[in-house]
């Protein structure tokens, strides 16, 4: 069984300040972890992924995430927020269930960026 908890439904930051979106996961095996971004009225786009290589993962648009097995966390960060970062962000865990790969989504965090 696997699950994902995104600890904040909304995060509000000012432009130019750091961003932290928190994600905790539960998995009975070594998971793959992903962050996706969804801009209004759009589909989802991959930001970055962790697949048991380096624990610090760099993604697009300056985002990065660190896999911490001891804390079962995969928090998303960015040093300096931009207005264009305002979107919905989803943390996803993916693993095998009876031979099939089932991605499980968190409920999402809405990032609001103030000028």
């Amino acid at each position: 069984a696997q699950s994902v908890t995104q600890l904040d439904s909304h995060v509000s930051v000012s432009e130019g300040t750091p961003v932290l979106l928190r994600c905790n996961y539960s998995s009975s095996y070594s998971p793959s972890l992903f962050w996706y971004v969804q801009h209004p009225n759009k589909g989802l786009q991959l930001l970055l992924k962790y697949t048991s290589a380096a624990t610090l993962v760099k993604g697009i648009n300056g985002f990065e995430a660190e896999f911490k097995k001891s804390e079962t966390s995969f928090h998303l960060t960015k040093p300096s927020a931009h207005m264009s970062d305002a979107a919905e962000y989803f943390c996803v865990v993916s693993g095998s269930s009876g031979g099939s790969y089932i991605p499980t989504f968190g409920r999402g965090t809405s990032l609001i960026v103030h000028p």
Binding site: Q6, S9, P31, S32, F34, Y36, N41, K42, G43, L44, Q45, L46, K49, T51, F90, V92, S94, G95, S96, G99, S100, Y101, I102, P103, T104, F105, G106, R107, G108
Partner: protein
């Protein structure tokens, strides 16, 4: 980018009518998924397919059926639509390997009156 197209993109229907949403891919991905997105719930898996004619239920499958007669097409059918099925539906595809990412369509907005 993977070519994932959904149709229709918008549909308004009445309670009790059948509805079919289509997902078409051009990437020859093995796995295809249907999710629904509702405020406060993120994306929830309805059904998925791991090959032609191979499908299985997700966490919110009641009231939905699927079919996959060829690799590129995955159909989601609401046999008798209800207002609780008003939602945005997303199709996604992937290779299924643990390192694989998902590729998403643009979504289909369904309103059941």
């Amino acid at each position: 980018d993977a070519g994932i197209t959904q149709s229709p993109r918008h549909k308004v229907t009445e309670t009790g009518t059948p509805v079919t949403l289509r997902c078409h891919q051009t990437e020859n991905h093995r796995y295809m998924y249907w999710y629904r997105q509702d405020p406060g719930h993120g994306l929830r898996l309805i059904h998925y397919s791991y090959g032609v004619k191979d499908t299985d239920k997700g966490e919110v499958s009641d009231g939905y059926s699927v079919s996959r007669s060829k690799t590129e097409d995955f159909l989601l059918t609401l046999e008798s639509a209800t207002s609780s099925q008003t939602s945005v539906y997303f199709c996604a595809t992937g290779q299924g390997a643990q390192i694989g990412e998902l590729f998403f369509g643009e979504g289909s907005r369904l309103t059941v009156l």
